[in-house]
Symmetry: C2
Subunit: 422 residues, 2 copies
């Protein structure tokens, strides 16, 4: 399928099927959805060998293309990872269903009765990168929240994704559920993705999950409403009053516990008053963990082996064992620096000063602002959401970790007795 019109027709045909399935999904009760989730979990376990076989083909192809070890690791499924996918669907079945909740209600003009009710978004498009477990997770969250989903994974995970979606959709078919509620866009070309991004007729929302390049492409090209996710240039600011032992623990955790994820710290800001005391120790501990330091002209004096930071370093999301370091005059410079270079994801202050904590939390423009805790806590599981589809860095609709509620919208039901507007 190389013809542009054919490609578009195929994407739109998928959209039409998803829209029909969404109408059925919206009427499915919690018990039935949970039964189907449990059946899909069982089917993933039963189909584990098939999934692993197809995944092995993807992995072999990726290796022969010379992709990095980190990439191969993210792509590779194991029996344990398939079990995690199955367990994830069962966990979803156990969560409270957000749909149908009456979020409010009141009497409007002339006695009309207004009720605001939680309903599904409709048809969700997910564009994501190599990890095939996202396929099952995203499908499960969309299913639990009454949405139909069109999944568009990367070409490298094509066979793995197809194996997973085949099993999920087949289970829905066998069990009498709406099988088109979980659809895979098999055409992994950029052109097909571009069609998806502009398919306003059928898609209600598009959620890109992956690196900055993917997110920015979607933001630039999509006409469907987008939820931007997961670009995190997160800062740890160590205030003059900080407990320096605690500050060091948090810094090391935020930077090194899992450097490749969006809530890892990418930049350290240190109050001038404690720079001479804190930075030498922090530098040693970071370097001992294998972190490369890129330091401002002042901090570099305290940091053996650090490179000079460039303007770009302050704006970078390294997703790697690298950190930028800057000494600041005080809280306000820290806040200004963060609001200039940050990505509105997660920002932390380490302080024992009440006023500093208040000022920081009030003035920082980010989804999550932490006091005396690691940036790594910005996560659906740490927040207790039970499931997470991504971390929003925009301000519309949802901010920060997105769980089940964030995959819903509402509808106003207005009941009258023949009212006409005066």
């Amino acid at each position: 399928m190389t013809n542009k019109e054919d490609r578009k027709a195929a994407v739109y045909a998928l959209g039409a099927r998803a829209k029909e399935a969404a109408a059925r999904m919206a009427l499915l009760g919690p018990a039935e959805k949970n039964r189907l989730l449990t059946r899909m979990a069982a089917a993933l376990r039963d189909g584990s060998l098939d999934i692993l076989e197809d995944n092995a083909l993807d992995v072999r192809a990726a290796k022969s293309k010379g992709l990095t070890a980190a990439f191969i690791d993210r792509l590779t499924l194991t029996p344990a990872r398939v079990e995690d996918m199955a367990k994830g669907l069962e966990d979803l079945a156990a969560l409270k269903d957000p749909l149908g909740e009456v979020q409010g209600g009141w009497i409007g003009a002339q006695g009309i009765e207004i009720t605001r009710v939680c309903v599904p978004l409709g048809v969700v498009g997910m564009i994501y990168e190599a990890r095939p477990n996202v396929t099952a997770d995203a499908a499960g969250i969309c299913f639990k929240t009454g949405n139909a989903v069109i999944l568009r994974g990367s070409s490298e995970a094509k066979k793995s994704n197809k194996a997973i979606v085949d099993i999920l959709a087949r289970t829905l078919r066998w069990e009498g559920g709406p099988e088109d509620a979980i659809l895979l866009l098999a055409d992994t070309s950029r052109a097909a993705a571009a069609e998806l991004m502009r398919m306003n007729r059928y898609l209600d929302v598009l959620i890109p999950r992956g690196g900055a390049g993917l997110i920015q492409t979607v933001v630039r090209e999509a006409t469907v409403p987008v939820i931007e996710t997961g670009i995190g240039n997160c800062h740890v600011y160590v205030d003059a009053s900080a407990d320096l032992g605690s500050a060091l623990d948090i810094l090391i955790n935020a930077k090194t516990q899992r450097p490749g994820v969006c809530n890892a710290a990418e930049s350290l800001l240190v109050h001038r008053d404690i720079a001479a005391e804190f930075l030498p120790a922090a530098g040693k501990a970071l370097e001992a963990s294998g972190v490369e330091l890129r330091a401002c002209t002042e901090s570099i004096r305290y940091l053996e082996g650090a490179k000079a930071a460039t303007e770009e370093d302050y704006g970078a999301e390294f997703l790697d064992m690298i950190i930028s370091v800057k000494v600041v005059d005080g809280l306000d410079e820290a806040i200004n620096h963060i609001n200039t270079y940050g990505t509105k994801h997660t920002e932390a202050i380490i302080t024992r000063d009440y006023e500093a904590a208040r000022r920081f939390t009030r003035r920082i423009d980010a989804a999550v602002v932490l006091v005396n805790a690691s940036t790594r806590f910005t996560d659906g599981s740490m927040f207790g959401f039970g499931a997470e589809i991504g971390i929003s860095t925009q301000k519309l609709h949802a901010r920060g970790p997105m769980g089940l509620e964030e995959m819903t919208t509402y509808r106003y039901i207005v009941q009258g007795d023949g009212q006409v507007r005066l």
Copy 2:
């Protein structure tokens, strides 16, 4: 200013000022904001003659360009309309401030304390058409909700809008408020609007208000998150069980009370069982009100003087004294027709059947679904919101009438005691 780079620089300079003002706005307390709103209202009254003078210049230019009487009417300000703008700002001052409300809070993993707090969106861009009173209304709503706003009105209202914004911003300056919180994009070229739509660096959200052409251009071209507003192909479905007298009242109200607005009815669906009884009376009443009928092959038999409806008529938002009419087999055909041709704005059923009411409200995919009331009730004032910035027809963030709450977002504050992630 015709050079592309200069134009972009000017728009971005406005963006930078708005962003700085937004940071100040976010810290302004309710009492101070309300004081400033009241002062701005007084200033509009004091400056009424200046506004009317500048408006007269806009109106004269519009007339000499031969624009329609309806357009001239929307453009024209009167002392009463200026008074309404002033009163609108005072009404806003009296409304509850949504900011700072704690929307929830709980203990997360390892004892972190999570609080979700209502905060402003930040910098709002408004692109709107000829009515200059929107300038004061939108500025007031954004100000009340702690946002900075960049207003981009139409070129035809350029002098009127400038006069209004000059007065509002000058009042803020004199009173020590953040004067850059209310900014006008004086360059009303399409090219400048295009820069605004892609200024993700400074804009948090873009709200277009106007006709379908404007909304679709913004949806197509913007990279900034957009809230689509106000395209309403609204239906009135008269069920077999309807009280036909009430159905007629609602139909006439929905179609004719104010045909040029988005919540006016554009299409009538009638159950076959009552078509022969209802349609002749409905047709007469509509025609007596001056409404043109475009009818399906079945309904046209009952409607003297009706034209045959085309496929396009079913999808049209006429915003005029025109209505499409279709006989349907029953509730399900009505629902399918609406979900196919509707714009997810407002849909009404007229019925006395409990089950039909339930089925309609559960299956229709629209922001507002009404039972036995006119579509004209989809309106911030009818909902009791006190203020309205527009009616959202998308599903992300806000749906239906958007009041003050819909102009806010939230931030998570996480308080810890040195927690690192295990």
